[in-house]
C-alpha cells in the first residue's frame, strides 16, 4: 500500500493504518510471544522470560551504543569484536591479577575496571578517524573490526581464556532476589545449606546483569531524550552543516558518540566473562548484525536523524524472543538469521512506505 492509497482512506481507517505503521514492532513482538507460547513447551513462564532478558542483554548493550551512532548518521561495525576484545582483555587481567596473589574479588574488580577504561580506546580511534581523518564511518569501524579481532586472538593465543578466579560467575549468573515460598527471601545471595528439593523450588527473580544493563540503558535513554547532548546527537544526524553552523562542536560530539558505542561494547564483553566464565575473541562476532538490526527495527534510519532507545529495546527483544523461542522448539539457531534478515528488510520497507504518516509531528 502506498502513501497515496493511505491518504485516500477515510478518517478512522487511515488512523488505524497509521497506528499500525507506528506500532507494528510492538505487535510483532507480541505476535512472536503468542506463537512461541502456543508451539513451545514451557515458553510462557516467568523463568523463560528471565532467560530471554539475560540472553538479550548483549544485543541490548551493543544496540544502545549503536543507537547513538546511527542517529548521527554513522554506523559502528566494530562493536562485535570490540566486545570480544573486552572479554579477552578482562579475562586475561583477572587471571593475571589472581596469579599475582590478588584476592579473587579484587582481581575480578580490577579486571572489570581496567577493561572499562581500555574500552574507550577503540571508540576514540573510530571517532578520530571519522572526524579528523574524514574516513567514512563504515570503513573506519570496519577496520577497527579487524584490528580488535586480531588483537584479541593475539592476547588469547587463539583459545578461550579460562581458569578465571573463583566467583567470577556468581554475579553474572546471580539474581536480585531469591525466594523460597513460605520460607525466606534473600537479596543477591542464594542462602547457604539448602537441601536439593529446596533448590528445585527456589524462585530466582530478576537476573543481576539485566538490572545493570537496564539501569545503564535508562541513563542513556535520559541522555538521548532529555539533554542537550541528545538534542545535538539528533541535530548532527539531521543536518551536520546546520549543526556546525549553529556552533555545535560536531567533531567532539561524534568522538563522544563513538566512545559511548565502544564503551557499551566493552561492557558487553565484561558481562560475557561474568556470565560464561571465559573470555573469547569471537564472543560478540555475530552480535554486530543483531545490534544494527535492533536499532533499525526500532525506527532508526541509516541516513541518520531518527531513532530511539525504546524502539531499540523492542527491537532487541524481537531478536531475543526469536532466538530463545527457536531454541525452545529445537530449531538450530542459525535459522534465526533468515528471520532476522527478513525482519530487517521488513522494517526498512515499512519505513519507506509510511514515512510521512509515521513520522508526523513528534
Amino acid at each position: 500500500m502506498s502513501v497515496e492509497n493511505i491518504r485516500k482512506l477515510s478518517g478512522t481507517k487511515r488512523e488505524w493504518v497509521v497506528l499500525l505503521g507506528r506500532s507494528w514492532i510492538y505487535l510483532f513482538l507480541l505476535g512472536e510471544i503468542i506463537i512461541f507460547s502456543f508451539l513451545g513447551t514451557g515458553f510462557f513462564s516467568a523463568k523463560n522470560f528471565q532467560n530471554i532478558m539475560v540472553n538479550s542483554m548483549t544485543i541490548m548493550l551493543l544496540a544502545a551504543g549503536q543507537t547513538f551512532v546511527i542517529i548521527t548518521g554513522g554506523i559502528d561495525l566494530s562493536v562485535g569484536f570490540v566486545m570480544g576484545f573486552a572479554s579477552v582483555v578482562s579475562a586475561k587481567m583477572m587471571v593475571s591479577f589472581y596469579a599475582l596473589g590478588f584476592p579473587p574479588g579484587l582481581a575480578i574488580l580490577s579486571g572489570v575496571l581496567i577493561t572499562m577504561l581500555i574500552g574507550f580506546l577503540p571508540g576514540l580511534l573510530n571517532g578520530f578517524l571519522v572526524t579528523k581523518m574524514k574516513v567514512p564511518p563504515f570503513i573506519a569501524t570496519f577496520g577497527m573490526y579487524g584490528i580488535a579481532y586480531g588483537f584479541s586472538e593475539i592476547i588469547s593465543y587463539n583459545v578461550p581464556i579460562t581458569n578465571l578466579p573463583p566467583g567470577v560467575g556468581d554475579f553474572g549468573n546471580g539474581y536480585l532476589l531469591y525466594y523460597l515460598p513460605g520460607k525466606f527471601l534473600t537479596w543477591f545471595r542464594q542462602p547457604a545449606g539448602l537441601a536439593r528439593a529446596e533448590i528445585r523450588e527456589l524462585v530466582s527473580i530478576v537476573p543481576n546483569i539485566f538490572i545493570i544493563s537496564l539501569l545503564i540503558i535508562l541513563v542513556f535513554w535520559f541522555i538521548l531524550n532529555r539533554t542537550q547532548f541528545g538534542q545535538h546527537t539528533f541535530a548532527i544526524g539531521g543536518n551536520i552543516d546546520a549543526a556546525r553552523r549553529s556552533g555545535i562542536n560536531v567533531d567532539r560530539h561524534l568522538m563522544k558518540v563513538y566512545v559511548i558505542s565502544s564503551f557499551f561494547a566493552s561492557l558487553g564483553g565484561i558481562m560475557y566473562v561474568l556470565r560464561f566464565v571465559n573470555g573469547r575473541a569471537d564472543a560478540g562476532s555475530v552480535r554486530m548484525l543483531d545490534s544494527v538490526v535492533a536499532v533499525v527495527i526500532g525506527g532508526a534510519s541509516l541516513y541518520g536523524g531518527t531513532g530511539g532507545m525504546i524502539g531499540t529495546l523492542i527491537g532487541t527483544f524481537i531478536i531475543g524472543v526469536l532466538e530463545t523461542g527457536m531454541v525452545n522448539l529445537g530449531i538450530p539457531t542459525f535459522n534465526k538469521y533468515i528471520y532476522v534478515g527478513v525482519i530487517l528488510i521488513l522494517a526498512v520497507l515499512i519505513d519507506q512506505f509510511f514515512p510521512e504518516l509515521i513520522r508526523k509531528g513528534e
Binding site: T227, Q231, F234, G237, N239, A242, G247, R359, K360, G361
Partner: protein
Amino acid sequence: MNDKHMPVLEVKDIVKRFGGLVAVNKVSMKVFPGEVVGLLGDNGAGKSTLIKVVSGVYHQDEGQVFFNGDEVKINNPMDAIRLGIETIYQDLALAENLNVYSNIFLGREKLKKALGLIEVLDHDYMHRESKKVLDQLGIEIPSLKNKIKMLSGGQRQSVAISRSIYWNAKLLIMDEPTAALGVAEQRKVLDLVRTLSSHGVGIIIISHQLYDVFQVSHRLVILRRGEKVGELIVKETNPDEVVSLIVGAELVQNSGR
C-alpha cells in the same frame, strides 16, 4: 550603535583571488541599519565570493571589513555569527528532523536543572520564546512542535530568519531567498524582509529575480566580472538600466538592433 549614519557593514577595496583568477576586484560597499541592498550580477560576477568573505567562508586577499564602524577580522563562519552577521541559505540552516523551536535554539539550547542536579532541555521556555519572536515578525506556523520537514520552503526560510533575529543578527545576507518558492510564499518572504528592515536590520539580498529585488531594496550594487560597475538608488532607476549594467551596456545595444 544603531546610528543611521554609521553603516552596519562596510567593505573597502576587497580583493579575492583564486589562483590567477580575480573573483572580486577592489569592491567596496556599505549597508546601513534598516537598509535593504540588492547585490546583483550575472553568474560568475563575484556576488557569492564577496558574500562568502563577509560571512567568513573565504578570507579576502586585500581590503578591509568594518562592522558597526570597527574593523573586524572574520576568519570563519562562527566569527561572523558571533558579530551578528547571519547568512540564510536555502537548505543549510535547519535540522529537518527537529521541531521549529529546537531549531531556533539549536546549539544554544536553554537548559534547566531537573531534581536540582541534572541539566535538561527547557522545552517550555524555548517554545515560549520562539513563539514570541515569530509573532513579532508576523510569521504564522501552525505548531512550533512540528518538525521542519513538514514545513513549506517559505516557512523554513522564516524559521531560519527568526532564529537569526532571536539571536540578535544585525546584518542578514539572503542568498536567493525567493528561488524555489511558490508565488504566495515569495510574497510572504518579501513582506518579512520589509518587517526586518523596519526593525533596523541591515539586509543584503542576492537574487536573479529583478522584480523581487526592486520590490524590497533601497539600493542596488551591481557587479560584473568581479568589479563593481554600478551603485543605484532603486527609486531613481529602472530594470532596463540595471540589466544593461549586469550584462554590459554594449551587449544590450547590440541585441537591440
